[in-house]
Symmetry: D2
Subunit: 227 residues, 4 copies
């Protein structure tokens, strides 16, 4: 609906243009299962493992952003996120995996699932063949979406806090720091998307929708334990 | 087994290193269904449509090969294949689609399926982030594999020639010209793979296996009509 | 001056924003020397040889354009130019070199001059790290500029037609077919540049100016026989 | 000569294959002028300013290395160097420029010289169109060469320590930390170059020689104040 409103922010218009895909991603059964604690542990473990492989390509994508930078501001933006992923998130992820019984050796021997390949390579190709904005738009379902997933869950009646093994995951992405990083990305996208021609917006809209569908598939892979 | 034999050709060793994946691709139920004529027409039509989108990214991949060329020989090789795809195959494909009731307008309005995105973007990322050999190896399940699919079908007892709507597809890839092109690619790969270090072969082996699995998924998409 | 006029075409505004660099390129002493026939033959021969190496990277740049294509129109545009370069221009160039005493073996053994590396790699990096428009803008001093050089020379009083060994070069780029190709590129650029934000235009303006300076250096290399 | 010796390390063979180019770079008049203190201050200031622009593209090149990484080891290697450049060297460079009367505003308004464009874009294209090893080899004249320049100067009789405004530059690159980083890069290159086919080594040899010549041009630009 807000797509009809001329004063909707550009990023919101990307979301509205694929509203049902976006909702299917944010409110995916996997997400709901984390919220009410009903998600099978095997599903979460499978997700965790593939998410580690995802992080490797996510880091590659921000390396690509550094390469594509055309100002010191863009260069530092890419590097800051790259450092957050490699120096911080990966360590957290590895220790988290350990708690779920997945060792570093397990991680090193992992075979990449189709869903991991599909989303990561789509993002990398969009960025390599397009420009820095294409790359950011393809990454937005991840960067902005995870913050939305956490916020959405916190607002649900079915949310189970006590004894929910996934509450820590939810809290991590609901955390002020992560929410601020997501908002910073949203602001950057809004600034860049402003003034784009309708043709360019249509192109970016398609990238955003495709990436959103592929992110939803990533949840689905966890649910079905698909390789 | 031939992986054990020191005199196996390098490309055959790539195949042997993922023998079960390769066979699952070459002898996929979709392929068998074309051979005995039992494949539902809706499946073939879905495949045909997505294969058009595949061709677009396949052409992009050979554009990438031209960009990555380091000799006139490599440059002409990429360009020759690019011309074969855009000036020849695409036209054939469009007319074929027309016979199957899919118009050019339908093709222009198509939404890319997950399987199409997964395989094409994997190939493009392998090539963009690696070198020309990575690109060729990622493309080999398509370039070499389609020739093998056709040859394999021709040797099967269950092959149905008369009244099989898919016989034309099989004949096209069994044709001498296509088989020679596939053999030329095989020869080029054998020449390039010779002398590679074990570390490099392991890397290329993984790319070949991943690409083979993603090509099998492309058949599967046709079978299940997945979007 | 026309930069002040709001109705100037976008491409003309790129030219006007670096008017003195553009004139220094179009009316370079090397160009004047071709016009009045006074250019030393050694200079032209040096230019011819390096221009062959330029063509190789020029072809790579259009391969990059094919890779970056996001529509069949963009894909065919890149391929058509690629075919014109490799299937047509390179052959002409080789036969021309032969007439000037430069054999194919000489061409194969050539060492690339600094000026050749500087312009070609600048173009390729602008295109690889930016988008298709960055690539076209970086190539414009070549694609559009050579047509302008020929037109400009034809309008000069000092032009010597009889017995001028460079008249054939001038006629080739003054030819209707080449002029039309240059105009088609100009039209494409005008269509794409329309609607760009001022920030984007400033970025493209810098690329165009840098590329123009590097093209002028290419003439200078011929004049000074620099390696 | 050591190129003849089968036990020479692979990187030394790259150097030996372009020995005169390498020496012309390491012992360039600009370098000698820093050693004996005779280099005009305007030359050093011009060099310093362009070296800042160089650092920006140098950082982009290591962003490219992160994108091209195929293991966590390669990813961290690229990121560590990237952090050293952006978080450390750039700050040092800016404060150094300030001491030499070049403000941050001056740096922001700089026009890139031909020599800066030529070397940086050559490196970026070698890396983007090739693989990670191509990129490292193209960067080696900088990463390894600066350490060699400093070591060489320290061993020269003409070195002037007292009152030499360039002694600090020399000491910085002669410092144990920088020398160790250069040695680490040398070791990495030796490990990767081992086992390469002669064809591949010939290709890398050409990249190394071209990059060495373009680095020498960077000194020359300082000497002649060329834009």
């Amino acid at each position: 609906m807000s797509a009809m409103l001329s004063n909707a922010l550009p990023f919101d218009r990307l979301v509205d243009a694929c509203a049902s895909d976006w909702r299917a991603y944010i409110e995916h059964p996997f997400v709901r299962g984390m919220g009410d604690g009903s998600l099978p542990e095997a599903s979460f473990r499978h997700y965790l493992k593939q998410d580690y492989l995802f992080l490797v390509h996510f880091a590659r994508a921000w390396g690509l952003a550094v390469y594509k930078a055309r100002s010191m501001g863009e260069l530092r933006q890419g590097l800051d996120i790259l450092k957050a992923i490699v120096d911080l998130e990966m360590g957290l992820h590895i220790s988290w995996c350990a708690e779920w019984g997945v060792s570093e050796d397990d991680l090193a021997a992992l075979q990449e699932s189709r869903a991991t390949m599909a989303y990561t390579r789509y993002v990398l190709d969009a960025g390599a063949s397009g420009d820095l904005l294409d790359l950011h738009v393809a990454l937005a379902p991840c960067v902005v979406g995870y913050a939305d997933v956490a916020s959405w869950l916190l607002a649900q009646q079915f949310l189970k806090r006590d004894g929910n093994p996934y509450m820590r995951w939810i809290d991590m992405y609901a955390d002020a720091e992560f929410q601020q990083a997501a908002q910073a990305e949203r602001d950057w996208l809004n600034a860049r998307l402003a003034g784009m021609t309708p043709e360019r917006l249509a192109q970016l809209s398609r990238i955003f929708r495709d990436a959103t569908r592929l992110e939803a598939d990533f949840w689905q892979m966890g649910l079905t334990l698909a390789d």
